[in-house]
Amino acid sequence: MTGYLILFVYIALFIGAYTLVQVVRRSRAATQDFTSLKTVTFGDESAIRSDRAASVISILVIFLIWGAFTGSKLVPLHVPGPFAGDTSFSYEAVNAAGETDQATVSVIVHQVGEDVEAPEAAPGDGFAKDDAATVATWRQVLIRANRNDEGRTEEGFKITAIDGQPIAPGEKVSVEDGDVSMTAKGSLNFTPHKGLQMEPIWMPSPEAVAYRFVEIANEGYQNFTLWEHLGWSLIRVVVGFAAGAALGIPLGYAMGLSGWFRGWFDPIVEFMRPVPPLALIPLVIIWFGIWETGKIVLLFLAALWIMTIAARAGVSGVNISKVHAAYSLGASRWQILRHVIIPNSLPEIFTGARVAMGVCWGTVVAAELVAAQKGAGMMIIAASKFQLTDIVIMGIVLIGVIGYGIDTLMRMAEKALVPWKGRF
């Protein structure tokens, strides 16, 4: 239910923000650069410029919805939360003599984790006595309302109505702040209204995640600091990738330069390339164990084929005129490899390295989910076993940030080291 509501709100905000931004823009003087004068934009990819306002609003909307549906204090608007506070409902009982009487059940609905003592209810008059109970938000409580009533054990005693609405075993009625249902044995089950917000064990609020981040950053989690967890994941990726590149790149060059190498290794590379690294986890565990060696071997295999293919493509991509020109200028084979083939293949190698780093980062997290004492993946799988959703979400966000950071660094390195890419 909440899911559909979130989808609906999201679509409404998407359309609403667009309309609003268009209205605001129309009222202001438009800048007149070349692209803005193009009349054909639908189908002209070069005329499509990412709308900065849309990006900013998009991120705001995610946090707005997240906050609104988790009762965050950072967000001014909320969907109705669960009922909390004091409430009561009355019930009507019939005794063996056919007399009726009413009594009141007071319920204190408190936050999860608070310890609240149920007040002693004054019994009141008549044979049906008042009751009291406590329940946490999003939970339900079984109230044996008749437990203190006179004549409850006699034949014919039963509760017939809640707040004036008739009830029978198995039925449910609504009261002011919740629902009351009757069990087969005649006890009452009170469920306070849950509202539309999500319970923290399913989806914690943004500030709860941030708070948990600060806490774990200071105190660590499961015997290791946060930086050790993330650092170990990164070290595994870097070592595994470096090993894969150290073997894959020379192998790729050899396959690009020698028919025997290509013929020998093509079947192996082409067969191994489509095998997802995750499918190798069981075998790698059997062969190399679950600790560091196993993980690094797995990441090595994840990077190896990608780097081999990238280096091979880099060699194949060299314009034959360049090689001919270098020979005609008196270069030896070794000089041609060093000064022509290797620099020429760098753009391809960088593209491969970006892909390989992405795959390795994904693979290391998955490998840590299977078995690890430390690492980003281990952190979230351990937290999920205790339903510490805030740690799970924090971990996912950190994994995403680091993955994005790796890719950004690779792109910066590419720009600095192969400035000619795509320009010649």
Partner: protein, 268 residues
């Protein structure tokens, strides 16, 4: 014995479907040092094959190429190449491209710089020495290619449509530059082109080749290159004999093209 001599060159190779191609048949030619030769012909006449054999990238099935008394067996710095485009090293600066040959030979930096400075001045790129080659226009890139080839001081310069990818105006300027470099350096130059005008302007001798099998159809001795060294090329084109020779060669090549078309239609 000096000069370049091509003796009974033939090139024939098998196709996967069992047929074969006779790319060149009995091509013979001899060039004195310092001669300027242009080669013209319809596509498929084997002119690029001939150039690749001269450069040493292809081995002929028959005949041989002799340069200054020794056989050509493979690529070597004595025979420089200038390609149509894409042969510059884009990861090197203009200077690094130009001094590539001397650098590979292990020449000292001082000496290399002197060569590069001199050649870049000759081709008019003295202000672009440290630029990346991808920042230059097409015409400038071909100037770099010419300078790079000359930096190695080759005996023969082989040009494979060096101006083919340039726009008409740049091309005219570059034709003047090629003539100037030829005259100043006294190198033997063999230039392949598709353009009849260019072949006339940039050839003391002009070979017209014919296809299937690739062979020399006719050879001309022309005065236009010598005239072009001292005069404006546009005046040379308007000058005595140019238009007539151009028309004669054009009709000759048209004739060959029609013959090919006719033969293709007949076999279909």
């Amino acid at each position: 014995m000096t000069g370049l001599s091509i003796e009974n060159l033939s090139m024939r190779f098998d196709l996967p479907n069992g047929g074969h191609v006779q790319a060149l048949k009995d091509v013979s030619l001899s060039l004195q040092n310092g001669e300027l030769l242009s080669v013209l012909g319809p596509s498929g006449c084997g002119k690029t094959t001939l150039l690749n054999i001269l450069a040493g990238f292809l081995a002929p099935t028959d005949g041989r190429v002799v340069l200054n008394g020794h056989d050509v067996k493979g690529p070597d710095a004595e025979r420089g190449m200038v390609f149509q485009k894409g042969a510059l090293f884009e990861w090197m600066s203009v200077r690094q491209n130009v001094d590539f040959g001397p650098r590979m030979k292990g020449m000292a930096k001082m000496e290399r710089d002197k060569i590069a400075d001199h050649l870049l001045e000759t081709v008019g790129l003295q202000d672009f020495k440290e630029k990346a080659v991808y920042e230059l226009s097409g015409g400038m890139q071909q100037r770099v290619a010419l300078a790079r080839c000359l930096a190695n001081d080759p005996d023969v310069i082989l040009m494979d449509e060096p101006l083919g990818a340039l726009d008409a105006l740049t091309r005219e300027k570059m034709q003047g530059l090629v003539l100037k470099l030829w005259k100043e350096t006294g190198k033997t130059v063999i230039l392949i082109t598709h353009s009849v005008e260019e072949a006339l302007l940039l050839g003391e001798r002009l070979l017209v080749m014919a296809p299937r099998p690739g062979r020399i159809h006719k050879e001309y001795k022309l005065p236009f290159a010598e005239r072009g060294v001292n005069a404006d090329l546009r005046d040379v084109k308007k000058g005595e004999g140019f238009a007539e020779t151009r028309d004669e060669i054009l009709s000759m090549i048209w004739g060959m093209e029609e013959e090919i078309m006719g033969r293709t239609e007949a076999t279909q």
